[in-house]
Amino acid sequence: MDTMSPIERALRAVALTLVVVFFMFPIFWIFLMSFQTNETILSIPPSIVFSPTLSNYAALITGKLQTAAGTLDIAFMRNLGNSIFLSVTSVAVALVLGVPAAYAFARHKFKGSEDIAFTLLSFRFAPPLLVLLPLTQYFQWLGLSNTYFGLIWVYQLICLPLILWIVRGYFEDISADVEYAYRIAGHSWFATFRKIALPLAGPGIAAAGLLAFIFAWNNFVFALVLASADKQPVTVGALAFITSSGIQYGQIASAIVLSVTPTLALALYAQRYLVEGLSLGAVKG
């Protein structure tokens, strides 16, 4: 790296800038849109010079959507709350179930262990729509449709395999001898799991948790079919902006900004921890 010539360095910088602009521009544009009215958004040619307005955000937060046809009630803030509650709880449940399971799969080869692990992974193979119809029927019989409990349960199809397989890999990377060394010093296997395996796999667990959170947050079909308005997350709630009197681009943009914020905040927070954890775990037995 140090041997790069100034020209190489400049070219590198240009290439990196191009990539960043390519990926970041849509998000930047949406950010700008969220401060504009529908009229300025749809003006041709588009301009980045406009007088910013907070009306989109105000409409979302108060829940009153002004359209040409009159005032509409929208439940965006409630949707946002649902999203946070569903994603956080689903990931929490998946971590509680998945991390010990991942440890078991990584450390103990028992009869059928590979088959069970593979079955859990196979939940991710089938398109969600395929399982949705039977699932809807079952949920209606069981009285689980339109409940948070039912949704969180279904969300395990998304979160659990992800956490299980990622965390399992991290546990397998920890030398078993480090755990043996701890056990032989007079500790039970549970203490070893808690004090050695969990902290060493910490970055992996954080990464898997973050990924599972993003997948859960972005889920659309399960919530669309299995929940009614008051339990729906933002992904489904955003449909409300397609109204009879037109598509509310400004509000959609500000809704996107608001719904990206929690994931972004979590990612930024977890990133610090990920880097720190990775440098700690740099020793391999």
Binding site: S175, D177, V178, Y180, A181, Y182, R183, I184, A185, G186, H187, S188, W189, I196, P199, L200, L280, G281, A282, V283, G285
Partner: protein, 374 residues
């Protein structure tokens, strides 16, 4: 019974299903007395590490019993066996400093902080790691990690100390110094230790008794001297000793007057019958095929010896290694002085009957060592 630290009885280890999986340890029997240092010596995959891990409790015992201090422990979790272990891969805890790693081993013993500090300081001095006590495992060398790991095992007051290749990563000079210090440390405290090694110098230097293993079978379990002088079979004979023992297949014929070994290429070694005891003579002539073994430093040159031809002559700075074509094979000689022998030069080779090891041609079991029956 009270002075027996470890008792292994008929232990089998299978990886995979019992009787069908890989048979890593076969019907192992061993007794270790309190205060002894035992070396498990063998090449990779001989079952020595499996044995160690079964004693520690990290591998299940497929069959048989292991007793520590008179208690059968083969079903106990490691935590209940009170053994200490130094791992081949060091296995230090990455988030802890070297000092914390070593002190950690004492956590369960509930000693006061002062005593712990004192013990850590003394073991660190012994292993020459005082200057890295504050460092993290990721920032020190392999040799330093190995010493830290060794310190973590030795600091404990356990029934049994298991050391898996404890000095493999150390520089030769340091290794020689530490061997002496560690042996002294173990003996002074009356600890019992089992070390696994493939380095016979280490085994000879540290151990009171050596267990030679091969193919999952304990070949011989005896003092270093006995193993060298009276190897129980062809494997032990050729495995222990550097350079390795010279071996030649031979047929035996005997009469009242002499014992004669027929080697390849028509080479005959004849000895007066009086060179061997009656028992040895009887045992030898009963066999058709035997294997003759002789250690390189016991081979002599003499003008009236059997003819050989120099193939290699190497001066190693303190000794000469001569390899000679002899009886269809190679005979290695070790001499202490520098010798001027050109390659291709004929030499006479004399094998003293008192240095001959004779093994059964089929089973490899030792028949005689020198003039005595094995």
């Amino acid at each position: 019974m009270t002075d027996t630290a470890l008792l292994i009885r008929d232990v089998d280890k299978f990886y995979g299903p019992v009787d069908y999986g890989v048979h890593a340890v076969k019907k192992l029997n061993m007794d270790v007395r309190k205060g002894e240092i035992i070396a498990l010596l063998g090449s990779s995959g001989c079952g020595k590490t499996s044995t160690l891990r079964m004693i520690a409790g990290f591998e299940a015992v497929s069959r048989g019993t292991i007793s520590l201090g008179g208690r059968e422990v083969q079903t106990f979790a490691p935590v209940r066996r009170n053994v200490a272990m130094a791992f081949e891969g060091y296995s230090l805890y990455p988030p802890l400093t070297v000092r914390e790693n070593i002190a950690f081993a004492l956590k369960a013993s509930k000693l006061s902080q002062g005593v712990v500090d004192e013990k850590v300081a003394s073991i660190a001095k012994l292993l020459e790691i005082e200057d890295i006590l504050g460092r993290y495992p990721s920032s020190i060398s392999g040799g330093q990690q190995q010493r830290a790991s060794l310190g973590r095992a030795l600091i404990r007051d356990a029934n049994l100390h298991l050391l898996d290749e404890p000095m493999g990563q150390l520089e030769p000079q340091l290794r020689a110094v530490l061997r002496g210090r560690i042996k002294h440390y173990i003996k002074e405290r009356g600890l019992t230790a089992i070390l696994v090694t493939h380095d016979q110098t280490e085994a000879n230097a540290l151990a009171d008794r050596i267990a030679v293993m091969e193919g999952g079978v304990l070949q011989q379990f005896d003092t270093p001297q006995k193993i060298k002088e009276r190897p129980a079979n062809l494997f032990t004979g050729t495995f222990v000793g550097e350079p390795p023992m010279n071996v030649f297949e031979a047929s035996v014929t005997g009469s009242e007057a002499k014992v004669s070994f027929g080697l390849k290429d028509g080479v005959r070694l004849e000895y007066p019958a009086s060179d061997f005891s009656h028992a040895v003579r009887d045992a030898l002539v009963k066999r058709q095929k035997v294997v003759l073994g002789i250690r390189p430093y016991a081979v002599r040159r003499s003008a009236d010896g059997v003819a050989g031809r120099v193939a290699v002559n190497q001066w190693l700075g303190d000794q000469t290694h001569i390899a000679a074509d002899f009886a269809g094979g190679t005979m290695v000689l070790v001499e202490h002085d520098r010798t001027e022998l050109a390659v291709g030069q004929p030499i006479g080779i004399r094998l003293d009957p008192s240095s001959l090891h004779v093994f059964d041609g089929e089973s490899g079991k030792a028949i005689s060592h020198g003039v005595e029956l094995a």
